[in-house]
């Protein structure tokens, strides 16, 4: 079976990407409290998806014979937003912890 360098690269990126996505989700699933759980998705999943996006980019460029960069936009977007998501979620968690401590809660 012939394996082109591009094919190899794509496969590698796919494996790395999905692996990191899984790692992020494992972190989310198994770490002990919210603040630690926050780390996995923020970094690993973002990177994982980023890798898959690049894989797609390479794959599309190779198969269509035309440079395809549009997938970069998704990565760009994810990298810009992930810290903010983590930020507001952490704030929300702290606020609701404070509320719980004060004996008030709400849905």
């Amino acid at each position: 079976m012939p394996v082109s360098p591009a094919d190899l690269l794509v496969s590698l990126l796919l494996l790395v990407g999905s692996g990191f996505a899984l790692v992020g989700s494992i972190g989310l699933a198994r770490l002990p409290d919210f603040m630690t759980r926050l780390h996995g998705p923020t970094k690993a999943t973002t990177l994982g998806v980023g890798a898959i996006v690049i894989a797609d980019m390479v794959h599309t460029s190779v198969t269509t014979g035309r440079l395809s960069l549009q997938e970069l936009a998704i990565s760009l977007f994810l990298f810009i937003t992930a810290p903010v998501s983590a930020h507001v979620l952490a704030k929300a968690a702290l606020a609701s912890q404070a509320r719980r401590a004060a004996g008030r809660s709400s849905d």
Partner: protein, 165 residues
Amino acid sequence: MKLRTGLLPQPVMTLLITFLWVVIVSRFTLGSLVMGALVGLAVPLLVRAFWVDRPVMRRPLLALGLLARVLGDIVVANIEVARLVLGPTARLRPTWLDLPLELESPYVATILCSIVSLTPGTVSVDIDMAGRRARIHALNAPDPEAAIATIKRRYEAPLKEIFRC
């Protein structure tokens, strides 16, 4: 300078949008470039009013260097996080870090905190511009002082340089 308040309020953004446009349409022609430039010129004008508190980038090349460093750190950081996540959780030492900020612009501080969130086992939780400090949660930081020092050295200093603030 006149351009900033006139037809070109955000030259960086204009460039970014033009680039984004060409990337998204994935059609590397003059037409696409012109179209992207048109959009890149029009959109910042449209949203000019939302543009508050935006410092000017003084050292674009340095910025590119920082970008490369951050991307590298992200990869490294993720391997580190993967090790922590997959390893025994009991060994984790989650800690709160108080990062004193030297940056004056909240915008630049935000960039710093974003970088912090994307790299080694840390997430920015709060920025207090009045108190000039950022609150950061570290997944595993046996030595908080060292972690803070690393952040300041690797990211804050270049940012200060880039934006001169």
